[in-house]
Amino acid sequence: MATSNGPVLLSFWVSPVSQRVRIALAEKGVKYEYKEEDLFNKSELLLKSNPVHKKVPVLIHNGKMICESLVIMEYIDEVWPGKVKILPSDPYQRAQARFWADFSNKVCECGHRLWQKSGEEQEAAKKDMIEKLKLIETELGDKKYFSGDVFGFIDIALVPFTSWFYTYETCANFSIEEVTPKIVAWAKRCLQRESVAKSLSEPGKVYEFVCFLKKRFGFE
């Protein structure tokens, strides 16, 4: 059971959107209780905490439930201000961060289509994914992180999907490093941060999980 004021995170080990929240909490140095959910047998707590979508992640804090990963990240930044800031303070830079974090959700949607579909639909998803990664790479440019030297909102929103790159590449037969080398280099830099290294799944395990899903749900 959680300590009276300590947050609880309902999560699923391989869920990239749950990993966003884990990274954010780790960057802020917030101690929390991690509860692994079985998404094939959802707990009463999850169903009660997120009755609208019944999905992870959910952050439970002071008896309140916060859902949607980017919403949770903003909440974390506001409730635990401290020295580490996930979002910049300038309104325009915050707007840019929110825009690109939302764009990273589109990468997630592409990714789903990429491993779930085959044939022409998969080719279309691959083309879409490459286009989106190139736009993201242009935004990154030669910077260390998306906002410059400081690891932040956009990095946290996007980095969990990098452990799915191997899966995307294997399913659709292409190389992300060839297409967007700066993104791959950025991902390696992020992995040097403890918060990221401890939160992301190993690419091989992600691929195993996807193969399991394909078999179980009959994706070709």
């Binding site: 609208v52 916060i66 919403v71 909440y75 309104p91 325009y92 707007a95 825009f99 939302d102």
Partner: protein, 232 residues
Amino acid sequence: MAEGELKLLGLWYSPFVLRVRMMLEQKGLSYEYLEQDLSNKRELLLKHNPIYKKVPVLIHGDRVICESLVILEYIDENWSGTGPCVLPADPYERAVSRFWAVYIDDKLLTSIIGILKAVTEEEKAENIVDIHAALEMLEESFKKCSAGKSFFGGDYIGFLDVTLGSYLVGIRAAERISESKLLDETMVPLLVDWENRFLAADCAKKTLPSVERVEEQARMIRGTRWKVASAN
């Protein structure tokens, strides 16, 4: 606070544009409105929103902000001392507002377009069920967010009010076209009461187009772009 002229690239019937216009009005901020022709995208739109090539785009001096909810938050933060607050002050209430805004955009636009594009009665009925379910969720959300006051934002129109409010005219136009009841006072009485208050507010009165005009536009799009046979 950044200085500079405000310009908004928009489309007169887009809920995403309407919500930004209502919020600018609510905050008492003047801006130049530039209506865009999306079938013939002009240089300004393509230059300022190369990623999505969509409206709204807020140009503030040399700053460009895209995506309606991002724009609303920018307005909140950049003009925090001007006019009523856009988002609540409490972090949890802010999270709740943000959650429901995402939900509204996820559910309502798809269902409204689904109803308008439906070729069979079954398709239409499915989308009507979806929109009813979403509005019932929002009825519950209104109870909690308003805490007995007039708007989602409390005493004043805020983030969630303009987000949902931007769909009202489209919903009523879709009702006329599909000959169905979507925002039904027997199902969602609090929302219908809220709708009346919202539409009476200055920011809505000065911004929202008429249901008749939106209905005409929707019928035209159905006929020409979507090629739905106009049996009704």
